[in-house]
């Protein structure tokens, strides 16, 4: 299989401009600027079937086409590099090892949508990634790849990097916008959607790092080439970040459609210590857990949605037979209670309540009724709030109980 996003990861000094150029870098943006109209670029990306790699899996070309062509106010691109979903660490590698691939993706996306300013919002803890991207941007300015008349063409683009300050919620796209604008990072009410009025009230595209990193190859090789990889409607490869109880955790670029069994047992060498698998979380912590019986589910957007979970950010967490699901559930709810911005009632109060209940059960102080209480509280938290953090706590909580109820019942009085 041909690597697309991670093709440069193993090169020496992969993060340097000269390395990137030697590998044919920045040819795609030159192609766009010299022989493609912005609409052609969008069309090519639509043809590729590329779907967002951040969590929701929304078709990228369609997202770009939602932004009005004519706008009286500046349009913006915000790159979501606030990789905060527990179990997810794949964008970090792109940022640290191949920043120019991201920058070229940003240039193409900006050209396609008519954007003159892009921001890369990088998770605050990613200090090295911040420095690397910052330096890469500097290299581009020095070479005339950014700023006025980039690559000698009549097109202007500025890219800025912005460090987050340690809030998971700033990875939610409108929370990210608020934070970029200098305010408290909390999601905005929609409508208006960012494509209409986002950053600084301008039409805004928000794309994940990995998503944009696919774009140069799509332009170079064509949308059809990309759509032939993976499965129909789930085209291309993606970076899977595998953690938990596996022999070989890490980031792997694999075709969409690969099953969990293949990923865990063939690619990652099986469960650590030869133990049995109890279950796995397929797409970052907010994806509902799946059991060992569901190992043959393909890890693509549609198959996982059909199975009641989600592909999310591609962070696969393997859970071995000796792990305690109530403990994992408690730890999961703790995370969301800690990260809720607290503006919506259900999320602010619900995440803490669920975390209290899970902890109580795990510590052996729970009662039988608490199990059903969690389910009911979670049902009151779903689909009720401004953003989906509340759902992100409720969905996995419900799955933990529904799929491993016996473990909870064994702990309560």
């Amino acid at each position: 299989m041909e690597l697309i996003v991670s093709k440069n990861f193993n090169k020496k000094d992969s993060y340097k401009l000269e390395t990137y150029l030697a590998g044919g870098g920045y040819e795609a943006i030159k192609k766009c600027l010299s022989s493609m109209k912005p609409a052609d670029v969008i069309e090519e990306v639509k043809k590729s079937g590329l779907r967002g790699r951040g969590g929701a899996g929304f078709p990228t070309g369609m997202k770009w086409s939602f932004v009005p062509k004519e706008s009286s106010v500046p349009k913006y691109l915000a790159v979501n590099a606030d990789e905060g979903e527990p179990g997810t660490f794949k964008d970090r590698l792109v940022l640290e090892l191949d920043p120019h691939l991201l920058l070229e993706g940003i240039m193409i996306a900006s050209y396609a949508v008519g954007i003159g300013t892009a921001y890369v919002y990088i998770r605050g803890e990613y200090k090295k990634a911040f420095d690397t991207v910052h330096d890469a941007i500097k290299e581009c300015y020095q070479k005339g790849f950014l700023g006025e008349n980039i690559f000698g063409k009549n097109y202007k683009l500025d890219i800025h990097v912005h460090a987050g300050a340690g809030a998971y919620i700033c990875g939610e796209e409108t929370g990210l916008i608020e934070s970029l604008e200098g305010r408290r990072g909390q999601p905005r009410l929609k409508p208006p959607f960012p494509a209409v009025s986002g950053l600084f009230m301008g039409p805004t595209v928000i794309n994940n790092v990995e998503t944009l990193a696919f774009v140069p190859s799509i332009i170079n090789k064509g949308g059809e080439w990309f759509s032939a990889i993976g499965t129909p409607k789930n085209s291309g490869t993606r970076l899977f970040g595998v953690s938990g109880s596996v022999e070989k955790p890490g980031v792997y670029e694999l075709e969409l459609g690969i099953t969990a069994r293949k990923l865990i047992y063939e690619i990652c060498g099986g469960v650590k210590g030869g133990k049995k698998l109890k279950g796995f979380i397929p797409g970052g912590l907010s994806a509902p857990i799946m059991t060992a019986e569901e190992l043959d589910t393909p890890l693509d957007f549609d198959s996982l949605a059909k199975a009641g979970s989600m592909a999310g950010s591609g962070g696969v967490i393997a859970i071995s037979e000796d792990a305690s699901i109530p403990k994992i559930a408690a730890r999961t709810a703790d995370f969301y209670a800690h990260e809720s911005c607290g503006q919506c009632t259900q999320c602010r109060e619900g995440t803490r309540w669920v975390s209290q209940l899970f902890n109580k059960i795990y510590q052996g102080r729970g009662k039988k009724k608490d199990i059903d209480l969690i389910l009911d509280v979670c049902s009151n938290m779903m689909g009720q709030t401004i953003c989906v953090l509340s759902d992100a706590c409720a969905m996995p909580s419900i799955a933990f109980i529904k799929k491993f109820r016996h473990e909870f019942e064994a702990l309560v009085k």
């Binding site: 809720s340 259900q346 602010r348 109060e349 009151n380």
Partner: protein, 521 residues
């Protein structure tokens, strides 16, 4: 004009309507906490969620714009469950200390709980313990545990008061309202946040623990603090005014008013309010006897002294100083009396930019002009052909004995300062009479002082700086026992100057002003 259907009712909404605003105009109640009609919506309490046809999720009525053909349902099972859930969530970390909470009885959280939930909590865990009794600033005490984080106060300070002194800090259920570290919440509009707080988190230091809300009776009134003339509600119990709140008036003050107007309350129950007529034997002799008299006796004595001072010259040697706190009715009687009696020494106090050295103003509600009824009194005088002399000119007329008898009419605000400044000259008058609400200068330095009711104890009209005629009614009784009302006191004063006035009520005076002078219609 989008036509929408809410709960089966066909409603013609406005293009700018949200579901909530259209519903409330049609009399359909949609419960809410963070929404306030005069603030930018936040959509965060999630209490106002309703079902909208073709929308898979419930939508917040406060933030969803109406559109043609929209079908809304506000009380389906799904909506009811969501509301009850929001209330359950809100109460899990709320202290439920209603029995000692000032908001009880007028608390939206309490009311909505009884209306839309009223079920026992399933929460058995430890509540968050947050800080209580926080001294937020000179006017407000904050209870973090009661706060439901609706951010109404934050948005009020940002959008209306345009001084973003409040902010939510921390995250999730640890969220709490705060000022900048070490900074006091000291905005002149701070107490509005207490009114709009949907729980008892922000309490007014002036009202805290003074009275239960359900004992309060409300009377609509007008604020006398400045020339803006905000609409107010005076709330009182057992003849004590406990608080003054803004009354909604879209033309003047919206739903808000300034803190100074509210705290003007302190003048009403001040300890030096006059309770009976006071007569001094000899004003200039400090050891002279001061006696409280009945109204009849006092008027007789005042009549005798006036006659002996003015002799045959009548009112020509009498001067009058009007307070801009007088109603147009009161001013009308005084002006007519002195005009007809032939006095040319008529002056009006101007409170200028403020009394007690206060001189704050802004372009929102606090006017530069701190005289509540200067506009009305000037208008009356103009129509009657009376030229006011300057208050300083009145003082020098007393100093040069052109004026032998002086009358100070109205509350002491601004008048006390004037008296202190011109004491030497004013004291040369042979006789000084004060009609005053408070026993302080000039009343305390007069030969005779008659109790005079404040605006909240009488009926009348002010005319604000934008020429709007503002009516107010008595909310409480004057602290003076068996006091005749201001109109009767002024009519009796007129009779001492041989001018016949027989008005029995402010309404009769106002009718004359309207019908004969065609003013303030």
């Amino acid at each position: 004009m989008p036509n929408i259907i809410i709960d089966g009712n066909q409603i013609e909404a406005m293009a700018t309507d949200t579901i909530l605003s259209a519903a409330s105009r049609a009399g359909i109640e949609i419960p809410h906490f963070c929404y306030h009609p005069e603030l930018q919506y936040a959509g965060s309490c999630r209490m106002c969620m309703v079902e909208v046809e073709k929308s898979p999720k419930l939508l917040t009525a406060c933030s969803t714009m109406v559109s043609e053909g929209m079908i809304v349902r506000t009380s389906t099972e799904k909506v009811k469950k969501a509301r009850a859930a929001v209330l359950e969530f809100l109460l899990i970390n709320h202290p439920l200390d209603c029995p000692i909470c000032d908001k009880a009885g007028e608390c939206p959280l309490q009311d909505n709980y009884y209306k839309y939930s009223a079920r026992e909590s399933r929460y058995e865990e430890e509540k968050w313990h947050k800080r209580k009794k926080i001294d937020l600033g000179p006017t407000i005490t904050h209870d973090e545990e009661r706060c439901i984080l609706c951010t109404r106060c934050v948005r009020f300070m940002q959008d209306i008061a345009r001084s973003p002194q409040l902010v939510v800090t921390r995250r999730g259920s640890k969220n709490t309202l705060s000022t900048y570290p070490g900074a006091a919440f000291d905005n002149p509009y701070s107490l509005n946040t207490v009114d709009i707080c949907p729980v008892g988190a922000l309490t007014s230091k002036d009202f805290r623990f003074k009275c239960r809300a359900w004992y309060l009776k409300s009377s609509r009134s007008v604020c006398p603090f400045c020339a803006t003339g905000c609409s107010t509600v005076i709330q009182h119990d057992q003849n004590v005014v406990h608080r003054i709140l803004p009354d909604k008036n879209e033309k003047i003050n919206g739903s808000f008013m300034c803190d100074y107007g509210r705290l003007f309350r302190k003048h009403i129950s001040s300890e030096n309010r006059m309770t009976a007529p006071v007569i001094k034997n000899n004003r200039k002799d400090a050891s002279s006897i001061t006696t409280e008299e009945s109204y009849d006796k006092a008027f007789t004595l005042i009549g005798e002294r006036l006659a002996s001072v003015l002799k045959n010259d009548g009112a020509k040697q009498a001067g009058i100083l009007l307070s801009p706190y007088l109603s147009v009715e009161e001013a009308y009687i005084i002006l007519k009396t002195f005009y007809e009696a032939g006095s040319s020494h008529i002056a009006l106090i101007d409170c200028g930019e403020g009394i007690d050295g206060f001189n704050f103003s802004d372009d929102y509600l606090i006017s530069k002009d701190k005289s509540p009824n200067k506009t009305g009194i000037l208008e009356l005088a103009k129509k009657m052909g009376i030229n006011f002399i300057k208050p300083e000119a009145l003082a020098s007329a007393a100093g040069t004995k052109k004026v032998r008898a002086l009358v100070f009419a109205g509350p002491p605000f601004g008048m006390s300062e004037y008296y202190e400044k011109n004491k030497a000259e004013l004291d040369s008058a042979d006789f000084i009479l004060s009609l005053c609400s408070h026993f302080q200068a000039p009343a305390s330095r007069s030969d005779a002082a008659m109790p005079f009711s404040l605006w909240c104890e009488s009926e009348g009209h002010f005319v604000n700086k934008r020429n709007m005629v503002r009516h107010y009614c008595a909310a409480v009784c004057s602290p003076a026992k068996d006091a005749p009302d201001n109109i009767q006191v002024l009519c009796r004063l007129a009779s001492l100057f041989k001018v016949k006035m027989d008005y029995r009520s402010p309404v009769e005076v106002y009718n004359d002003i309207k019908n004969q002078m065609h003013l303030f219609e």
